[in-house]
Symmetry: C2
Subunit: 152 residues, 2 copies
């Protein structure tokens, strides 16, 4: 919740209710669905772990669509700018290969999220689609979301 | 299951396991999730109902993405070519407006599914994205999937 809460409250990156609660998140089995695996990035040692980021990886679709991976990432806002996002990005790409996914696809990258777009573009993701006005940005109103993709 | 079973067994349109069972479908609460509403198209009268098609409608995303609708459609193969798909398409568009969705988006229309693409294009849906090789078609191997969209 230390990661999820500030992220959803801001209403600028994720399509999750801004007033989401721990209970609602757990009820939906969000980030802990049996269909996905989740990872955390921590700092410190066994006596003092500080979780600063997380991502999930899952098949983008079932059955004949399950060879493509889908992932979602969050970094605790007070740890931004310290390389956490790059670290979990690279881990997820390696993990997707290990799981024999042939590609990774993101379904909902906000067109206003320059930080994220740069993060993905640097590793060869490209935009394969754009959904007009798909997100009601807390400050900017309706903004487009992008579908991004790269071979794994 | 009379609709779902032949559809998934064919492996040519839906990203669902070809060997999917009734039990697996129910375990995933597929088509009956609390987040979606489902409709059926039937023929006949109260003494003899024949369900020939179904669709679901749900918010495409949560929270700031919940103003866009997402839907999925299936017609029992032995009822193809009889206007069922057009009927549930039109019902779903009217229903999306009623629910004040500002747009409808499909995330996974196979590029080989000419029947579906024509059905949507005739009602103003347009392609806003293409995912390369996202579907392992039972006869054709890897084929692209399309993201299609229209204002509601």
């Amino acid at each position: 919740m230390a990661i999820l809460e500030p992220t959803v409250r801001a209403g600028e990156t994720w399509a999750l209710p801004r007033d989401w609660t721990r209970e609602a998140a757990l009820a939906l089995a969000y980030w802990r669905s049996p269909l996905l695996e989740s990872w955390v990035a921590d700092r410190g040692d066994d006596s003092s772990r500080d979780v600063v980021g997380t991502y999930f990886l899952r098949p983008a679709q079932l059955g004949p669509g399950s060879h493509v991976g889908n992932a979602g990432y969050m970094v605790r806002p007070d740890a931004w700018g310290q390389g956490v996002a790059s670290a979990i990005r690279d881990h997820s790409i390696a993990r997707a290969r290990e799981r024999r996914f042939t590609a990774i696809q993101f379904n909902f990258v906000l067109s206003t999220n320059d930080r994220a777009i740069a993060l993905w573009t640097r590793k060869g993701f490209r935009v394969i689609g754009r959904s007009p006005g798909a997100y009601m940005h807390a400050r900017l109103g309706p903004v487009d979301s992008l579908i991004m993709h790269r071979p794994a």
